[in-house]
Amino acid sequence: MNLRFAFRHALRESRSGWRRIGLYMSSITLGVAALVAINSFRSSLVGSVEQESRNLLGADLRLTSNRPFTEPVQAIIDSAAQQYELSTVTTLVSMASAPSTGEVRLIQLRATEGAYPFYGSVVTKPADAWARRSEGQTALVDPALLTHLNVGVGDSIQVGNIAFAIGGTLETAPGGFSFRSALGPRVYIDARHLDATGLLQFGSMNQRQAFFRIPDEKALQQFVDRRHDIFRQNLVDFDTAEEQGDNLAEMLDVLTRFLALVGLTALLLGGVGVASAVHVFMRDRRHTVAVLRCIGGTQRDVFLAYLLQAAMLGFAGAAAGALIGIGVQAALPAVLKDVLPFQVAFEPDIVAIAAGVGIGIWAASLFALLPLLEIRNITPLHAIRREFEPARRRFDAAQIAAFTALLISMVAISVWQAGQLLPGLAFAGALLGTLVLLWLTALLLIRATRRLLPRQAPYVVRQGISSLFRPQNQTIAVMLGLGFGVFLLSTMYVVQKNLLGWLNIENSATQPNLVAFDIQTDQVDGVRERITQNSGIPVELTPIVTARIARINGRTTAEIMSDTTARRVEPWALRREYRHTYRDSLTSSESVIAGKFFDGNPTAAQSPAEISVETDVAESLNVKLGDRITWDVGGIEIETRITSLRRVDWARFATNFFVVFPPGVLDRAPQTWVALARVDGDSTRGIVQRDLVAANPNVSVIDVAQVQRALEDIVGKVTLAVRFMALFSILAGIIVLIGAIATSRFQRLRESVLLKTIGATHAQITGILLVEYIALGLLAGLTGLLLASIAGWALTTFFFELQFVLPVLPLMGLWISVAGLAVVVGLVNSRDLLRRPPLAVLRESGE
C-alpha cells in the first residue's frame, strides 16, 4: 500500500469538481450542524440548570400540599421556622374581574408571605414593583392578564371581596414554565390580604407551599431524611433545589436527546446523498481509475486514494457543519425560550463539536465505502477499450462487511445519542424499518406508475415519465431522501393535529365549553338559572365529595403498604384524595363491565353502601367485586362494597369519576358542585362568567376555549423545536434531490441535445423536464405521506388512544408543495441545459 500516493492523489483530485463536491459535503454538513447544535446546546443547558437550580426553586426546600397543612406538618414547619428562614405561598384558582371594563378571567392567585424567593430575582415592570408589593392592596400580574381584562398597570382588579391596584407586571418569576400556567395567568398578592378576599374556604384547587432557606447541604439532607415519612403520610410533596434541578436537567436531557435523534436522521439522509454522489463520481472517474491501474496503481492504492478523498471531504463538510451548528446553537435559546425557565448561556461545547466532526467524517467514509467498492470492478483494460463494459456486479464479503460496518456504526451512534441502550436501539430499528418501508413503497409506486401510464398519453408526458427509469437513475434515492423528510414533517403534523383536534371543543356543537367549580350546595339553583338563562341549554351539575381510603377489607392503608407478601398495591391509588360523586345512572362515557350498577334503586339505608369503581383504579388498588372499602369522608368513616366495575372513556370531555356512590349516602357530606355548560359565542360566554362571578365570588369558571388556546400555544412551542430539527432532514432531502439531478445531468444533456437535433422545440424539452420533476416530486411526497398517515394513525390510536382524523387538505397542500419544490430545484439545476445550443453540447460531450 502506498499511503503517500493515496494521500497526494486524494488532495489533488479534491481540488476540482466543486459543484458536485460541494453538494457531497453539504450532505454531511447539515447532519453535523444539527448534531453539534443540539449536543452543544444540551451541555450548556444542563450546566445552566445545575447553576440555576436554587434560583429555579427560589429556595433550598419546598413543601407542597393540595390542602391546608395537617397538624403534624404544620408543627414541623413552625419549629423549623425558628431555625431557618421560612416563606409561604398559597395558590388559589379564582376569578379576577376588572370593574372598569367588566371583563373576568380565571387566575391563579398566589399569596406570598415572607422573603420568597430567597434565591434568584423576580423581574417586574416597573423594576421595584416586587419590593413594593406589600404596600397597600397591590397585585402583580402576568402581562397576559392585562390583555385579557383590557386594563393597565395602576388600574384595579377585583379578586373575591377585595379590589387590588395593579402594581406592575411579572416578566420572570421562580417556578417558571408549567402546564399549570395554561389554566390562567398568575396574580401575586401579599398574604395578609388573603383572608379578606373570602376565597380561602372555598377553593378546591388550592395549594399551599412552604419555602425554606437551608443553605447547609448536610442540614438540609438531615431535615428531609428525618421527616420524609411524615410528609408522605400527610400527602406533602417535598422538593430540594438540587433534586428539582436534577429532575429538570433530566427532563431537558431527554428532550434534547430526542431532538438530537431527529437531527441524526438528517445525517443519515445526508449519508444517502453521499452514497449517491460518490456512486456518480466514481462513474465519472472510471477512466482515471483504469489509467491509474494501467500505469501501475494497485487496487488498494486507488481505493485508498478515493476513500481518503471521501474522508477529507467528509472532514471539510463536517467542519463547516460544526461552524453552522455553533451558529444554530446561538439561535436555539430564542427558539426554545418559552419552554425554558431560565436563560441559557451560549457556550459551544468542545466535546460535542469534536464528536460531531468525528461522526461526520465517519459517516462520510462509511457511506462512501459501498459505492467505492465498485472500484474493484474497474479493470485496467477500460483504459484501452473504448466500448462500455458494464461492471461486474458482485455482492461479496467486502460489501457485506462494509454494509455491516455501516449498520453497526449507525446503531452505535443512535445508542450514544439516545444515551440509553433501549431507546437507541428502538430509534435505530424504527429508522431502519421506516427506510425499508419507504423503499418498498417507492418501489411499488414506481412500478405502478410505469404500469398505469396510458399508452396514448401525450409524447411529452410519456418521455418525461420514462426519464424516471433511465439507466443509472437515482429515482429511488430521491424518493427515499425527500420522502423521509416529508414523512417526518407530516407525521408530526398529523399527530399534533389530532391532539389539538381532541382539545378543540369548539368544533363540536354539543361539547361543554365552560366549567364552573367550587359551587356551594346553596348556590346550585342560582348557578343553574343563570347559565340556562344565557345559553338556553340545561346545565349539568355534579356534586363532588372528597374522601380518602381508610381501610380495604378491614386492613388499614399502613398495613397494606407494609405487607410485602401480597400483590403490590400502587401507593398513589391508596394515598390519593378521591373525588366521588353520587348518581343513579351511567353517563354516556361509562360502561359497566362487571357486576350491576345501582339503577333507580336508592340504597340509603343499606350498609355497607354499594359503589361502582373504575377498572384501572380497581386494578391499582388490587380490589374486585365484593371487596369492601372504608372511606374517610371529612373524618366520618363510610363502609362500602364494590358492586360494579366501570370502564370510563377519559378522553371524553365530561366529569368522570373513579368511584360513584348511589344517591342517599353522601348527600349530607361536605361537598361542592361542578357545572359543565355549553355557551356559544365568546361574548356570551364572557357575560355568563361575569354574571356568575358577580353573584357568587367564590365560584371559579374555566373558559375551555381559553385553556385550549393556551395549551395549543404550549404544544406549538414544543413542536417548534422538533420541527426546527426536522427542517434539517428536509434540507438533506433537497440536497439528495439536487444531487440526483446533477447525477443524471450528462445523460439529460445528451438526451435533450439529441431531441433538439431531431427537431424538438424548447417548449417540448421544458415540458419533458417538467413532467419528470413533477412526477418525481409527487411520487416522493406520496411515499412520505402514505407512511406518515399510517404512522400518525398508529400513534394516535394506540399511543394517545384518540379517535384518528386524517387532515387531508393540509397534507394535500404539503404534497403539492413538495412537488413544486422538486420542479423548482429541478428546473433551476437544468436551466443551462435548455439554453445551450446542440452543437456546443455535442462537441463538449464527445469523448
Binding site: 502506498n2 503517500r4 500516493f5 497526494r8 492523489h9 489533488r12 483530485e13 481540488r15 476540482s16 469538481g17 477512466h287 482515471t288 483504469a290 489509467v291 491509474l292 491501474r293 494501467c294 500505469i295 501501475g296 496503481g297 494497485t298 487496487q299 488498494r300 492504492d301 479493470t379 485496467p380 483494460l381 483504459a383 484501452i384 477499450r385 473504448r386 469523448e847
Partner: protein, 252 residues
C-alpha cells in the same frame, strides 16, 4: 528476449457463446526493438496489447516479460510490475483531468513510491523534453490534443520503463501533429533504450517499425522484419492462416 508468449489465447463469452478473440499466439519480442501490431478492427490487436501489458489474464497460455511470468502474478503484483517496468501511451491520451500536466507526469513516480525534489525535477525535465516546460501547470482541458499526448508521453517515460506500449497514439491527432508525436516516441525510445510495442492502423507508422506483426481474426497472419528475408517465411504462414480463417468464418 524481452517478451515471450506461449500459446496465448483469449476467449470472451458473448451472448452465452464463447467468442475467441485471440488464438494460439506465439510471439517473442526482442529487447530495445520496435514492434508494430497491425490489423483490421476486431482483429484482436488491443486484446493482445492488454495481455502483453498484464492488464488482463489470458484464458490460456502465458506471457512473460524479462523472465517474469505475468500469468503467475496476482492482479496487484502485475500492477506493481507495471509501475516498475512499463509505460503506456493511449489513443485518448487518458490524462487524469483533475491533475495538472506536471502532476500527471508525477503519478507513476509516486505510485512507485518515489517523492521529493528529484522526482519533481525528473518530471519537469521530461516535460521540457517534450517541449512543454512552460505548460506544466495547465490542466488537460487547457491543452490541445497534441500537447496532451506529449504530456502522456512524458508520463509514459517517467519511471524509466523497460517497455513502452502505445495504443494508436496518433489516432486522435491530425497528420502533422501525429507525425511529431511519432518522432518523439521513436526518439525517446532510442534515448531511453526502451522496447516499444505499438498498435496502429496507420501503415505509414507501421513502416517505421523494425518488425510488423499483422493480426486477423485473432491470429498472427504476418510477421515481417522490415528489410529482412524472414518476410518470405512469414508470408507462407499467412496464407495458411488466412485459409483457415476463411473456412472458420464461413462455418459460423
Amino acid at each position: 528476449m524481452m517478451i515471450v508468449t506461449r500459446n496465448l489465447e483469449q476467449t470472451y463469452s458473448s451472448g452465452g457463446r464463447p467468442l475467441t478473440v485471440l488464438n494460439s499466439i506465439e510471439l517473442s519480442i526482442e529487447r530495445e526493438s520496435f514492434t508494430a501490431i497491425v490489423g483490421p478492427s476486431g482483429s484482436g490487436k488491443t486484446t493482445l496489447l492488454g495481455l502483453l501489458a498484464g492488464l488482463d489474464r489470458p484464458s490460456a497460455g502465458s506471457v512473460s516479460i524479462d523472465g517474469t511470468d505475468l500469468t503467475a502474478l496476482t492482479e496487484d503484483e502485475r500492477a506493481r510490475f507495471r509501475a516498475r517496468n512499463i509505460g503506456f501511451v493511449f489513443q485518448q491520451f487518458q490524462l487524469i483531468p483533475t491533475l495538472t500536466a506536471l502532476e500527471n507526469v508525477l503519478v507513476p513516480l509516486e505510485l512507485a513510491g518515489e517523492h521529493g525534489a528529484h522526482t519533481r525535477a525528473r518530471a519537469e525535465e521530461l516535460l521540457a523534453r517534450v517541449g512543454l516546460a512552460d505548460r506544466s501547470h495547465h490542466y488537460p482541458a487547457q491543452l490541445s490534443g497534441g500537447e496532451q499526448q506529449r504530456v502522456a508521453l512524458a508520463r509514459a517515460f517517467a519511471n524509466n520503463p523497460k517497455l513502452l506500449f502505445a495504443d494508436e497514439p496518433t489516432g486522435n491527432l491530425d497528420a502533422e501533429t501525429g507525425q511529431r508525436i511519432i518522432e518523439m516516441i521513436i526518439g525517446l525510445n532510442q534515448e531511453q533504450h526502451t522496447t516499444l510495442v505499438l498498435v496502429t492502423h496507420d501503415a505509414e507508422l507501421a513502416a517505421r517499425a523494425h518488425r510488423v506483426v499483422r493480426l486477423a481474426g485473432g491470429r498472427i497472419v504476418a510477421d515481417t522484419m522490415n528489410g529482412t528475408a524472414s518476410t518470405v517465411a512469414a508470408a507462407a504462414g499467412v496464407l495458411a492462416n488466412s485459409v483457415n480463417d476463411a473456412t472458420r468464418e464461413s462455418a459460423r
